[in-house]
């Protein structure tokens, strides 16, 4: 999927800087300030996006570790015991999430790109030197995989308005499988 926020933000900032801001009434302070803040906010988002997942995992790791320490330190009355029980449960749940969050988004994307490339190489190789039967089989497999993937791609971009019959495309949240729990 080429349409990713960082790429899109870059084009928005350029359009704002080169086309929109110069066309604004430069004496309209509110409009000028809002436009500059729009660019600033987009730049901030662009900087945060690639690190957001790591940032959150980093904090979760720290909280889980701190919970482990607090569990042994928090010895007092009934209220504290109840709070510790709650902390144990949320720490266990947090540790479970962390144990499943082992790959960074960039690694997942890299794996996707590598598999796309090696799948494409297989297709080309089979068409270059494979039998008719092998070519037919590979064609059927790639078409079937593409059909499922493209339904998701089209749903992902439904709001853009390219679809002749938008109602025929399911909403993206109904098509994406949830991340399996360990």
């Amino acid at each position: 999927m080429e349409m990713r926020p960082q790429f899109q933000i870059q084009t928005i900032i350029k359009a704002m800087t080169e086309d929109v801001i110069p066309a604004l009434d430069q004496t309209n302070q509110l409009a000028m300030q809002s436009a500059q803040l729009t660019i600033g906010t987009l730049m901030l988002i662009s900087q945060h996006l690639p690190l957001e997942y790591r940032y959150d995992c980093d904090e979760l790791t720290r909280l889980v570790a701190t919970a482990e320490v607090l569990k042994s330190q928090a010895k007092a009355g009934e209220t504290t015991s109840a709070a510790v029980a709650c902390l144990k449960e949320t720490a266990r749940s947090g540790a479970d999430v962390l144990s499943r969050a082992r790959a960074e988004p960039a690694e997942i994307l890299d794996a996707i790109h590598k598999l796309r490339a090696s799948t494409s190489d297989i297709v080309r190789a089979v068409y270059a030197e494979g039998s008719e039967a092998a070519q037919s089989a590979v064609q059927a497999t790639v078409l079937a995989m593409s059909k499922d993937q493209l339904l998701r791609d089209r749903s992902w971009l439904l709001m853009q308005g390219w679809e002749p019959d938008p109602k025929a495309v399911p909403a993206i949240d109904t098509l994406l499988a949830p991340i399996a729990k360990g």
Partner: protein, 398 residues
């Protein structure tokens, strides 16, 4: 796995692309030019004065007598060109002193189509008198005078759609009222037929290579878009690898070579609103000598179709049902429509449009090479619908 830096292509990478994909010589030159310039600076706003200075230099190189440029102003030029309107006071050959309204179409640092302005110049000259064409005056094919390659046309009056019509970005899927399409449809068919039966053998088309009858034509044009995809796409798409292999395997033989426009659809002609007469055909940059089915398939693409008032009938290029279009084309041209070739070029056209959107649009916007990166970034979204259309076409067969 080898990492290829397509944003800063090495001479070795450029040479390997040229060797891997056999294409027409001028197509090769335009694609090589694109790759050699790619690592250069991003597009920055050009002052009008810079373009006017370049224009003066270009015209001075062509005219011996004095001339004057006035009233230079920006025109909306779409996603792939910068356009400047201007008036030229000059001694026009065969006419005498006059002031002519003209349009400069200038490439960008990198555009949606890395094509040749010389081919565009030659094809427009060649077809003048056969179908409505804009007057064309001069060409700067390598950016010798202007910052980027450019071509100078005469200004032609007309609109691409009625003033009150609805259409999407870049004029795709334009809705035309019934009375308008009833007048435009016969002209659309007649012009395509005349273009496809035009005898190009005596025309000055030195920037075009003529394929042999048979499969060479299809091989060349698929190689062209294979190369664009290889040079521009960021991510491999297995379906594109499959489509390319399928296209090479199923290449049809052409038995009659024609001038092919390459983007023959509503949105690429102008007409007078008063009498609904087509005044000119535009956007010749993808033209070539090849198989008429390439144009027929392009015109019938769902990307350019709209639903009629009944909500069921798909109108080819917003004009008429496909069956009517193809029947009338056969009558007007005397050439047969081969369903297998039509299907083949439907797959091919989807393949090339995906190359333009998911491949080139992405690369150009990523490197900030155009004046409308945000539009290109938006347009690439249509690539997924086209991929699915192509998947369905391959799966369905003829």
């Amino acid at each position: 796995m080898q990492i290829i830096d397509k944003d800063r292509p090495s001479p070795e990478l450029i040479a390997s692309m040229r060797k891997r994909f056999e294409v027409e010589r001028e197509v090769d030159r335009a694609l090589t030019y694109k790759m050699e310039k790619r690592s250069g600076p991003a597009y920055t706003k050009l002052p009008l004065e810079t373009l006017v200075a370049g224009l003066k230099s270009l015209i001075a190189s062509q005219l011996k007598e004095p001339f004057e440029i006035s009233n230079a102003h920006w025109l909306a030029g779409g996603a792939s060109k910068l356009q400047v309107g201007f008036d030229l006071a000059w001694n026009r050959p065969g006419v005498g002193r006059e002031t002519t309204r003209m349009v400069l179409r200038n490439d960008l640092a990198e555009a949606l189509h890395a094509t040749s302005r010389l081919r565009e110049f030659q094809i427009v000259k060649a077809l003048t008198g056969t179908i409505p064409m804009p007057p064309v005056f001069w060409v700067d094919n390598t950016g010798e005078h202007l910052p980027y390659p450019a071509i100078v046309y005469g200004f032609v009056n007309g609109v691409t759609k009625p003033s009150n019509a609805k259409s999407g970005v870049t004029g795709l899927g334009t809705y035309l009222p019934e009375d308008v399409r009833n007048k435009l449809s016969p002209q659309f068919v007649a012009h395509m037929a005349k273009m496809h039966t035009f005898d190009f053998s005596k025309a000055e088309l030195s920037a075009f290579d003529v394929p042999q009858l048979g499969k060479q034509n299809a091989e060349w044009v698929v190689n062209w878009w294979d190369r664009v995809w290889a040079e521009d796409a960021q991510e491999e798409v297995p379906l594109m690898a499959l489509a390319s292999s399928w296209l090479h395997k199923n290449a049809p033989a052409v038995e009659h070579l024609s001038i092919v426009h390459g983007d023959f659809r509503t949105g690429n002609y102008l007409f007078n609103e008063a009498d609904t007469r087509i005044t000119t055909w535009l956007d010749w940059e993808l033209s070539r000598i090849g198989d008429r089915h390439q144009d027929l398939a392009w015109s019938t693409s769902h990307a350019f179709s709209v639903l009629g008032e009944d909500g069921k009938t798909l109108l080819v290029s917003g004009l008429m049902p496909e069956t009517q279009f193809l029947e009338e084309y056969e009558k007007a041209s005397g050439l047969k429509v081969d369903k297998k070739a039509l299907h083949y070029y439907q797959v091919f056209n989807a393949y090339s449009m995906i190359g333009m959107t998911l491949g080139t649009s992405y690369r150009v916007a990523r490197n900030g090479k155009s004046h409308q990166d945000i539009l290109l970034a938006w347009l690439l979204g249509v690539g997924y619908m086209l991929l699915d259309e192509m998947r369905g076409l391959i799966e369905k067969g003829v």
